[in-house]
């Protein structure tokens, strides 16, 4: 029995995956997600953790039909660029009943969702995805 994903890896990234913990550059103020050890803008290594808001506005999105094993039953999936104010994130969009609601500027909010099931091990991996705002986000900032 083999496992494709690693539990320790998810554990190490739990703050960035589940709390949207980003890194703010103390030198130039830019915020980066996923968190970086060095600022891509000014090169400073003086960064501090900062939690991102769980709501933002959709900038753009794309539809993915070729979905990997383990989550193929969810095809098509939507991947969006969301502006959270402090920074932008690329994330999977969920609860899309009608893709025509995915307009630029529409408000999106984070929700905890299943990402994939590891085939043989049967482990379920969860991530934050974004859905069109319903007013009551599952995850509070």
């Amino acid at each position: 029995m083999s496992m494709e994903l690693s539990i320790p890896k998810f554990w190490r990234f739990k703050h960035s995956i589940y709390r949207l913990q980003a890194a703010r550059c103390r030198s130039c103020g830019r915020v980066h997600y996923p968190p970086k050890n060095a600022c891509p803008y000014c090169g400073s290594r003086d960064l501090e953790p900062i939690e991102l808001p769980k709501r933002g506005k959709l900038v753009s999105y794309t539809t993915v039909y070729a979905v990997p094993d383990g989550s193929r039953q969810y095809s098509p999936i939507y991947v969006g660029l969301i502006d959270l104010g402090l920074t932008k994130v690329v994330t999977e969009l969920t609860d899309i009943a009608d893709p025509s609601q995915l307009r630029k500027g529409v408000e999106m909010e984070a929700v905890l969702r299943k990402a994939r099931v590891d085939r043989d091990a049967g482990l379920i991996y969860y991530v934050l995805k974004f859905r069109p705002a319903m007013g009551v986000p599952d995850v509070q900032a």
Partner: protein, 153 residues
């Protein structure tokens, strides 16, 4: 024959969530700015550009300013970058999507084909009277880019 007059490069963020404007490939824009300020050349008979995906071709055309922002796709559809268009001719070789993309060798491929163009010996779509060609090679989504001016001699 042909000569490579200049090669310039620039690094970029290479990631759409990092850039303030995801519709500009910053490393292409900067490398091209350096090349044109070094050589004084900003008009070309043809461009061999890095269309690893359809969208990158459009963004490259807009990032170097041969198409206004948001207009590249429309101009391509109208034939502006075809041999009969107002020019420059984009990817007379067929580009990465039609000719192929052997990753690291693609830039060499582009330079060789641009050299054949300015020498008037390209076996495919030959741009008539081509003397100046621009070659653009990108890494990933623009984490670094190289641009070269190839001229006939």
């Amino acid at each position: 024959m042909a000569k490579i007059t200049a090669i310039e490069s620039a690094t970029g963020l290479g990631s759409i969530e990092l850039s303030d404007d995801p519709l500009i490939i910053d490393s292409v824009a900067e490398a091209y700015r350096r090349l044109s300020s070094l050589t004084g050349v900003d008009r070309f008979d043809f461009i061999e550009l890095h269309d690893s995906f359809t969208i990158t071709a459009m963004l490259v055309l807009e990032s170097i300013g041969v198409a206004p922002k948001g207009k590249a796709a429309e101009m391509v559809a109208q034939g502006s970058f075809s041999p009969t268009g107002t020019g420059p001719v984009a990817n007379p070789s067929g580009g990465l999507k039609a000719r192929g993309h052997p990753i690291g060798a693609t830039g060499v491929y582009q330079l060789a084909e641009a050299s054949l163009q300015v020498a008037g010996k390209f076996p495919g779509v030959q741009v008539r009277g081509a003397k100046k060609g621009l070659v653009i090679s990108m890494n990933g989504l623009g984490s670094n880019s190289f641009v070269a001016l190839v001229e006939g001699v």
